[in-house]
């Protein structure tokens, strides 16, 4: 499962596909305190990136993948923490 949702955490791993964007977006809206973590994320669809950009400030850390990290940094104004 590329997208695992619990009450407090949304975990993205592997290839997150376009279909997951909406689920993630609704989860972000419904769980105001929930955070997003990445585990060996290889790619996410543009729509997923948009979902994260639409609800900024929820990332615990940037993904390891430098490209995705760069994308997220630019769109969510998230600073690299490590």
């Amino acid at each position: 499962m590329p997208l695992k949702l619990t009450k407090k955490k949304a975990e993205l791993s592997g290839d997150v596909l376009v279909d997951d964007a909406e689920t993630l977006f609704h989860w972000l809206a419904a769980h105001a305190g929930g955070t997003v973590v990445f585990d060996r994320l290889t790619h996410m669809h543009t729509a997923v990136l948009q979902a994260l950009a639409a609800r900024p400030g929820r990332l615990k850390a940037l993904p390891d993948d430098p490209f995705l990290a760069d994308c997220l940094r630019q769109l969510t104004s998230q600073k690299q923490e490590n």
């Binding site: 376009v18 790619h43 669809h45 990136l49 948009q50 630019q74």
Partner: protein
Amino acid sequence: MNPLLQQFITDANDILERMGQSLLALEKRPDDEAVIDELFRAVHTLKGNSGLFDIPIFTRVVHAAEDLLDKVRDKALAIDNDLTDELLDSMDFIQRMVEMVEASGRIPEDFTDEADRRIERLKALLPEDLTGETEAEEEWTERVLPPENLAWLARLSDADRAAASEAAGRGALTALRYVPEPECFFKGEDPLLLLRNLPGRTGFVLELLEPYGGAEDTDIYRCNIGIHAVSSAPIAELRDYFRYVPEQVALYPLTAEALETGELPVFTAVNSPQTVPDAVGEAAPRPAAAWYFDPHREPLAAEIVATQRRLLDLPASADQWDGRLQAIGNTLAALFAAHGGPEAVEELKETIAACRREESFLPLAFLLETRLGSEEEQASPAEADVATATATTANGTAPSDPPDGARPADDGIGDGLRGAADSADRASRVLKVPQEKVDRLMDLIGEMVVAKNALPYLASKAEEVYGSRELAREIKAQFAVINRIAEDMQDGIMQVRMLPMSSVFQRFPRLVRDVARQLGKKVRLVLEGEDAEADKHIVESLGDPLIHILRNSLDHGLETPDVRVAAGKPEEGRILVRASQEGDRVLIEIEDDGKGIDPAVIKRKAFEKGLIDEARLESISDTEAIQLVFAPGFSTAETVSSLSGRGVGMDVVKTSLEKIGGQVRLTSERGRGTRIVLTLPLSVAVSNVLMVRMNGQRYGVPMDMVVETVRVPRSEIHVIKDRRVAVLRGRIVPLFGADELLSLPEPPIANGEGEYAVLVARVDGATVGLIVDGFAQTTDVILKPLEGPLAALAGFAGSALLGDGSVLLVLDLKELMHAA
């Protein structure tokens, strides 16, 4: 190749052929709506079909042609010669792409530039007031333009900047602006993936086109991202990379200077036709506008400037770039000279030089923006028009959409499927079989024919060796049955290979039209007997010779309209091509009512070229003289033109026809026209040969060359100057010994009465005799050309297998005689 693609290629060829015919028909009857509809449907189907494959360039060119035809259908555009020329030309281009796809499964990159140029040209033919509308109609989003400023570079991370600078040191950098269309996710696109895999990516900047407000109804599936990126890959590779979304990407060169300094020419983005909302665009302080003229008082000048400014934004391919800069420069120079004075012209010159240095339009765009500034918001009427036009493009919708303007994007695919379904229907009635399969079947049947011929040998063996007359009779009875079936099969496969003449003839209307236009002649081409059929091989080999003959008729035969009128002929020349069947031969006549061939000219030319000597020059008759055009190395054209007379001439026509067993006859009447008659066998597969014996070997001679077989007593063979001759039926016939021709060790043997067996044959119109040992029966053989190392052997037309398993060499008497 996958069967669907195969089907597409077959269909595309059919469609292109139909389109060619329709276009020519349309030129004659421009108002024929049925033809226009047919043409439009054909193009539309082609576009739809192509959408199923990975050939976006193809689809775009066809689309441009479709737009044009759409206007013709709506009567917004009239068909004229130029339009037809352009469309025919585009069809040729499309045809070339089809061939490429067929050969390699893809369209090479070097087609892209020509495709773009062609699309531009087709678009230029659209009625002017509709251009904007059409653009909007065909592209969901407006074409993305390079950004007005390079402010985004500042947002590159330092590491990326450094990487880019380093890359710039190694070679040219390309910047790109990619604004995916909002609906792109629904087409399976993932812009992020495209960016991730961007060749030569050295840095990128992402931005949200519209900030997310946090509203619950935010549509996450509407693409809201704009991308700036820098790449070190060649621009051609990038263009290819973005081939699916060409209108959503703008590529432009990025100079090292711009990268280094960060001191970039910053433009005001206030009223430019910039259509991409630039969230980053920090409006730099605009230098105080130094007006060269007042746009309110000089609306025309303002419009010219605005147009040039827009031209600068349009993407230009490398080979157009310089020309465009030159053109814009010239226009502005003239305008500045009139309104600005020498100072302005000087500044312009410098700016253009800067453009050249930086290989970018930016400096000039900068000049236009700052020095000529604008208050187009409250612009003069002329400028308001320009603004409207821009707005139209920007909105992506035209003010008045034509009925089919808002075609759903997947319509093309739907059509493709429909088209495929149509052809599936057709396939149930007509089989399209690859030629190799038919050829293989024919080969097998050929072998069968040969194999069955072994049965009579078996029968006689049964009788003579095993003494069983009964068995021999039964074998013979069976042979009769198999023989009948084999002959029917042979007949059947021949029918399959039969093609109507129309498959060659259909190329002619286009050819005649193009050549006639080029030569400024008026020609009516009449085709008759297109239904006459002949073997595929024959019909296909006819194409080039016929085209050559037609070109000759057009170039040398028919006169220009004024000459024709002066000669009392109708202005329009006439060329008749007629095919008909005569026994087992097919006849093709090509007749023109041009100036005919002047025997005197031919004689003189032939003499000058050393084809005939002085004595022959005196004695040759007019009819014979005309035949000299078939002599190798003869070309009557005073000057070598691009059409005919490039040294190949009619001799090539003659030899290529003779290769397939054909003959050419030419008659001409001065001032009245020329008539060429080609006779060809209906089929080449089975040849009837007469077997002759020489030195204990059997050889075959094609029956169509044989005149008669006679026995000539030794006493009647005379020797004139080392040549043996005999008088046969009142004429002197030269005799050749088979031993001389074939370098056989033994001379021919006479029979008991001292008579020689002489095969009288007709070679090149002359009657010759061939002295052999004796004659055997005639037989039908499948003639196979000699292959491999044997192919170089002169004097043999090929080999054939006989029923007893032995090989028969078939002589090529013509070659043998020429060697003698």
